[in-house]
């Protein structure tokens, strides 16, 4: 087996200040790609964000980020990851709270 590629790398053609760049993320799919794209689009400093799965049998995704005001797309990516984590944390907390308060129907299911 060939050596494992890095988790994330910058593709050729990015701006030197990283204000516009395409990143290749290894071992990820629509699952993370679409969620991350959504969170990046929630950032008003992001001019454009899109992701793609270049080929179904290649185990990676591409994510394109273009920024306003020559800001760094890499910083925006890390910020989006932080926000995405807090988002899932609050879903987790809300789910646990709903499970704990017990106001749901419990029923017997035959297998």
């Amino acid at each position: 087996m060939a050596e494992t590629p890095p988790k994330i790398r910058l593709l050729k053609g990015a701006e030197q200040d990283l204000s516009a760049a395409t990143y290749q993320i290894h071992n990820e799919s629509h699952t993370l790609g679409n969620a991350l794209r959504w969170m990046l689009m929630k950032n008003p400093k992001v001019e454009f964000c899109g992701y793609s799965v270049p080929h179904p049998s290649e185990n990676h995704i591409h994510i394109r980020i273009q920024m306003y005001d020559h800001l760094s797309s890499l910083t925006a990516l890390i910020e989006a990851l932080n926000d995405l984590d807090t988002l899932f944390e609050s879903i987790e907390d809300a789910y646990k709270a709903s499970l704990a308060n017990g106001s749901y129907e419990v029923w017997e299911e035959k297998s």
């Binding site: 790398r9 993370l32 679409n34 990851l81 995405l84 609050s90 789910y95 749901y104 419990v106």
Partner: protein, 362 residues
């Protein structure tokens, strides 16, 4: 964007329209820059305010819960991870010592892989590479030794195979666990076994026998569906029936209108024959669009779905209690985020080192 259907309360920002032959307003528009002079940037406080998670129904095998106030990309991540990335245990290697049945070794081995096992995946480690040595931490061993014989005490005139023969069927319950190393202590009280002992794996006749050993390992559904911990994991959007208050349903047609929907969705007032929507039963609506087929109801009603209200239905198959599955899914997602964040921060450090960005060729 003015909507023609203001008298039904259809809101293109919140609702997905369901027309007779088309869906409308499918994509979400809550992004910065979409509406002038409106701020739609990410705010955790606002998100928490709108977020609602409510467990609706729970049984020993399945769970139904509502996830309200999130985008489809988030709900879809939860669903996709449940199917493909929450780990579970399944038979991966089968060593056949003897097989005199009519079923070929490779066909039977494939079947053994599909049997759901009750082993808690948190108690095991992933066997990452094929070259990794099996250990008591990453492999569970089962034996299967079954011989079919004639039942000598069976009545002469019996025609039932289970009476005439002993072991005429190989069932999942015939798998016997062989503890390795410290597994006897780790799995004490919860012995590894198939979740359902009654799965028929193969039929046999007197004189036939199987003798094999199986190694079960931890894996994820994207590698092979046998590792998927769920039977189904799906969501749908909450249905809405929007009545037009400017054009009420004619009282003489109220019961016909009611029959266009799932039972309990539409209420008819016994005195005035006025129709109304039962909010509690609304989620049971199948969205058959039957009401839209009748010209006499034209303009009386509009069908829609709530774009940010996801009704999840998850059926557990395997070791996880159904209420634990969404938590496992979120755990996997947060691990993915953490891994990528670490790598991205590494890239940021490498980049700021010499002021020259390193770009790959591909």
């Amino acid at each position: 964007m003015a909507s023609a259907s203001t008298s039904t309360g259809f809101d293109p920002r919140k609702h997905v329209g369901v027309r007779a032959e088309r869906a409308t307003n499918v994509s979400s528009t809550d992004f910065p820059g979409y509406y002038p002079d409106e701020d739609h940037s990410w705010s955790l406080e606002q998100f928490k305010e709108k977020l609602q998670v409510k467990v609706q129904r729970l049984s020993g095998r399945s769970i139904e819960f509502d996830l309200v106030g999130v985008d489809a990309s988030i709900a879809n991540a939860v669903r996709r991870i449940l199917i493909a990335e929450v780990p579970s245990i399944a038979v991966e290697y089968v060593y056949v010592w003897n097989n005199t049945t009519v079923m070929a070794d490779e066909v039977f081995a494939q079947r053994l892989g599909m049997v759901p096992l009750n082993v808690d995946p948190t108690l095991m480690e992933m066997k990452e590479a094929v070259t990794d040595q099996p250990t008591d931490r990453n492999t569970i061993v089962f034996k299967l030794a079954v011989t079919c014989e004639r039942n000598k005490s069976a009545p002469k005139d019996s025609t039932d195979d289970s009476v005439r023969f002993v072991n005429s069927e190989v069932r999942a319950g015939h798998l016997t666990w062989v503890p390795q190393g410290e597994q006897g202590v780790v799995f004490a009280g919860k012995e590894p076994a198939p979740t359902n002992p009654n799965i028929v794996l193969m039929k046999m006749r007197p004189g036939q026998e199987v003798d094999m050993e199986m190694h079960a390992i931890k894996g994820v559904g994207k590698d092979h569906a046998k590792f998927s911990p769920v039977a189904t994991a799906s969501y749908r959007l909450l249905p809405l029936v929007l009545l037009n208050h400017k054009k009420p349903v004619p009282p003489e047609l109220a019961h016909k209108f009611q029959k266009c929907f799932s039972p309990g969705v539409i209420r008819v007032d016994p005195v005035t024959n006025e129709v109304s929507v039962d909010e509690h039963n609304l989620r049971n609506e199948t969205m058959s669009r039957e009401a839209l087929r009748h010209p006499e109801f034209e303009g009386c009603v509009e069908l829609a779905r709530m774009r940010d209200h996801f009704i999840f239905h998850v059926e557990s198959e395997g070791p996880y209690a159904p209420e634990r599955l969404p938590l496992e899914s979120i755990k996997v997602m947060r691990e993915k985020i953490a891994t990528l964040k670490r790598a991205a921060e590494g890239l940021l450090v490498a980049d700021s080192g010499d002021g020259d960005v390193q770009m790959a060729d591909a």
